[in-house]
């Protein structure tokens, strides 16, 4: 973009700092690409460890996103629309996983849903279900860490929505449910999509809570980030290949969605 006549270009200091900022994001990626063993890439990517981890990561991150949508949207609605006692505390609880170290989250999950956990033990005795070190454990850890993104984004959108539109729909005969489905959700659509994407991206990259709560079993709980971490110790080339997969998947989805859905975000 050409600067307007008479205003001069952008300040030099701003340019230097801005480019430094970009470097922080670009240089690590350059390092990764520079060390990539392009010739072996094909065989590396088709190995068991990679395909297992990729499959598991996609499954668990998408499952966590779906669960976040199912329970997160109603929670966001309650937080935005219902003035219940303790709403501020509830809002704080939802935000907590955003600032808590994921390892602490994983430990908390273990104390709550572990074999001897507060809820895990009765659950195990009643149903035989054991969450830690299972795919369900990974999904739960992902949901715990990632769902706040959805709840916070959707709650903000609901609070900003002009409620008169919902009133208008009601006078046209729409039941509470029709109104939610045909007016409220479509009107907050862009924010909902943005929240889902952020949640999915966070779940895909989840490491700390997953390894603490669900362990690191290949084919069962070893997601892509865990596989990268393990491979760095044993097989550097495999680690790079796994990392590239993550970069490719994340970048494709984020760029594609940014263009189509969440321009304004």
């Amino acid at each position: 973009m050409k600067p307007a006549r008479g205003t001069g270009g952008p300040p030099v200091l701003l340019i230097i700092l801005g480019i430094s900022g970009l470097a922080v994001f670009a240089l690590p990626l350059a390092g990764l690409l520079a060390r990539t063993p392009w010739a072996k890439l094909g065989s590396l990517l088709t190995g068991d460890v990679v395909t297992d981890a990729l499959g598991l990561s996609l499954l668990t991150s998408l499952a966590a996103t779906a669960i976040a949508a199912i329970i997160g949207v109603p929670l966001a609605w309650l937080l935005a629309r219902v003035d219940f006692p303790g709403r501020t505390i509830a809002r704080g609880l939802v935000t907590l996983p955003l600032v808590l170290p994921p390892v602490v989250g994983g430990a908390a999950l273990l104390f709550a849903f572990g074999r001897r956990g507060l809820f895990g033990q009765p659950l195990n005795e009643a149903t035989g279900l054991l969450l830690p070190f299972s795919v369900w454990g990974v999904i739960l850890a992902n949901t715990f860490v990632a769902a706040p993104f959805l709840v916070i984004t959707v709650e903000g959108a609901l609070r900003n929505l002009d409620q008169r539109y919902e009133g208008a729909a009601a006078t046209l005969g729409a039941s509470r449910w029709t109104l939610l489905r045909r007016v409220t959700l479509p009107m907050i659509g862009p924010s909902l999509v943005a929240g889902l994407v952020l949640t999915w991206a966070r779940a895909l990259g989840e490491f700390g809570a997953t390894i603490t709560f669900a362990g690191n079993l290949q084919g069962r709980t070893q997601t892509l980030p865990l596989a990268v971490f393990v491979a760095l110790e044993s097989d550097r080339d495999a680690a790079i290949a796994l990392s590239l997969v993550m970069v490719a998947v994340s970048l494709t989805v984020l760029v594609a969605l940014r263009e189509r859905w969440w321009k304004g975000f």
Partner: protein, 353 residues
Amino acid sequence: MEGLLGLNADFSVRREGFRLDLKLSIPPGRTVALLGPNGAGKTTAVNVLSGLLAIDQGRIELVGAVLDDPGAGVFVPPEARRVGVVFQDYLLFSHLSVEENVAFGLRSRGMSKESSRTRAGEWLERMGLLDLARRKPGQLSGGQAQRVALARALVTEPDLLLLDEPLSALDVSTRVQLRRGLAEHLEQFTGPRLLITHDPTEAFLLADEIHVIENGTITQAGSADDIRLRPRTHYVADLAGSNLFLASAHNRAVDVHGHQLQIADDFEGDVLVTIRPSAISLHQHRPEGSPRNAWLTTIELIEHLGERVRLRTGPPLPLTVEITESAVVELSLSEGKEVWVAIKATEIGVEPE
């Protein structure tokens, strides 16, 4: 039992330090205007009648059925009422097409997709909107959006039509043109109609009866002439003070209630005539010189408003006149006294109705 088939409302509702008391009776086919300044409780009235807000006391009846009566424990929610609303700013659903907006009420009430499309299509045609069926509300002009809002409200065949400031979202030039279109569309609706407005011109032209609302209560109710000629509060007096008439024009003259006035420009057909009260001069003798509109009348009412004095003149053309206190003394004016009225042709505002 007047209004048995129409709307009968008599209620009070309190909201955050504000209280609205309203008594309204609107028979089918009649338009009542609720005219008042911002913050008078007009939108609260819309919310109450449409069911978005429950009343604290009183009773609302529509077509003989009780919609809200806290004493009897009855409250019909908005989705179960048959009340069509044209909201302020129209509130069209931006994610739905024009056709889907109009079909929304039918779909919500359980009509099939096919039938509701057909019915919506009929209304779009009636409103001259068929070409715009696939457009999104963001691509419509203010006037088109207003007609979509009206079609959306009427397609479900409501028992009551509420119009909340239906013209205020439009710019001045389109407002005049659309007011006429709105009047025609309103004729098609046979049930009771309530028009909410802060614009006296709108109320005078579109309504059969005007209720003036100030600070949550009705301060005056009656026909346009009652309000205009016998204002009971300062607000009404200020509104009515604009000397507003429906007239027919021919060449450079208008006929106002059988009285001829000379105007400055050529007009033909129905027009709206406005004369500012301060543009009218009063004289003891027949004025000489330029004013071509002059006639002898009597002073019917004198009202002192601080520095200014507001007078009401009698037949042949009753007017509200505003002059200074010193002019009153100079002309030794008193109620019942004869006086000459003069208005310059250039001071008479004329716009096509």
